[in-house]
């Protein structure tokens, strides 16, 4: 699990946003620089498309810019950014599904898988195995209902605590726990069904 998000930036974030609301572009640029990697990463994990993720992250920051003078400091800014990003990505996925008349998972087949496996192994068979695992994970996650998918991605890949996820998605911690339970159960079933294909690749 990745490390938990730092919280000491909270006050500075809101102060910067207030300054951005008064027209301070440098303050806004600092907010973007501070959160851009995190937001692009989240969007990419939800959309599975680099270019769309960059567009989505940009749109989220522009929303923040437009609301800079109106947003009242509440909790941590990144949870607001994460919430807007999650909703924005799910809206994009819904539109994509309507336009393509395909389930979300099918749109991922031709997409490049991203960075090389973390072990940096040059062995092609190990790389192939890692890619198969990624593909299986991605397909399984893509087929989860939105609520479960959001909780799982935030917990597993963004390293948020239950409290942070609850704050981001504006649900209770109990709901986070429940969605995570159902997500794991669904993934377990999906992994059972794809196991023969994955093991062939290994």
């Amino acid at each position: 699990m990745s490390e938990r998000l730092p919280q000491q930036q909270t006050v500075d974030d809101w102060q910067l946003l207030a300054l951005a609301g008064e027209g301070d572009e440098d303050a806004f640029r600092r907010i973007v620089e501070r959160h851009q990697d995190r937001l692009v990463r989240l969007c990419q994990r939800l959309l599975h498309d680099r270019e769309e993720a960059l567009d989505a992250a940009q749109e989220v920051f522009i929303k923040a810019y437009k609301k800079a003078g109106k947003l009242k400091p509440k909790g941590e800014l990144y949870t607001w950014l994460y919430r807007v990003a999650t909703n924005h990505c799910f809206n994009k996925l819904r539109r994509r599904r309507i336009v393509r008349f395909l389930p979300i998972g099918n749109s991922l087949e031709e997409e490049p898988l991203g960075r090389e496996p973390s072990d940096q192994s040059p062995a092609p068979d190990r790389q192939l195995a890692a890619r198969e695992r990624w593909r299986a994970t991605r397909d399984a996650i893509s087929r989860l209902p939105e609520g479960q998918r959001a909780v799982l991605v935030l917990a597993k890949f963004e390293g948020l605590s239950y409290r942070q996820i609850a704050e981001t998605l504006q649900i209770t911690e109990g709901a986070v726990e429940s969605r995570l339970f159902r997500a794991m159960r669904n993934l377990s079933r999906a992994q059972e069904s794809t196991r023969p294909r994955v093991s062939q690749g290994e």
Binding site: Q36, A57, K66, A130, R138, I141, K156, M184, Q191
Partner: protein, 146 residues
């Protein structure tokens, strides 16, 4: 595995349990092989969820966002022609009011029917002419002569 146990094990896996509760559960895992097996299965499943690390935002991303935000704000602040001056606003309001009034007249069914009835009762000049022309000339002469 029941839901309560799974949730507890998930919380243990994520470091979400208070220290005292986590210690108790770890003790149970030592004592109960079945529970330990369940925990290992869950941990294995959790760790098997692998995705490649997404690339960070490209260089210059923040400046691109800033430029786009500036552009959006400029568009938002740019006054439309009809709201730019007081005269423009008055003219727009009058046009709107005129349009609404005209629409209301056209849409009123009773008035439209009355107008049609009036036309039906009163012959036009052309109709009067042709009615007069259809009358025999002799008749009119005789009438005049007598």
């Amino acid at each position: 595995m029941d839901r309560k146990t799974t949730n507890e094990l998930m919380r243990l896996l994520h470091g979400e349990l208070p220290d005292s509760v986590a210690r108790e559960l770890r003790d149970r895992l030592q004592r109960e092989p079945e529970l330990r097996r369940q925990f290992e299965t869950l941990m294995q499943q959790w760790q098997s969820l692998e995705l490649p690390d997404p690339q960070p935002a490209p260089p210059g991303f923040a400046m691109r966002v800033l430029a786009r935000a500036r552009q959006t704000t400029d568009q938002r602040l740019a006054p439309a022609w009809w709201s730019h001056t007081l005269a423009g606003r008055v003219a727009t309001a009058m046009l709107l009011a005129g349009g609404i009034a005209f629409g209301a007249i056209l849409a009123s069914p009773s008035e439209a029917e009355d107008w049609h009835d009036y036309l039906a009762e009163e012959p036009t000049m052309a109709e009067s002419y042709w009615v007069a022309m259809e009358q025999p000339v002799e008749d009119s002469w005789q009438e005049n002569g007598s």
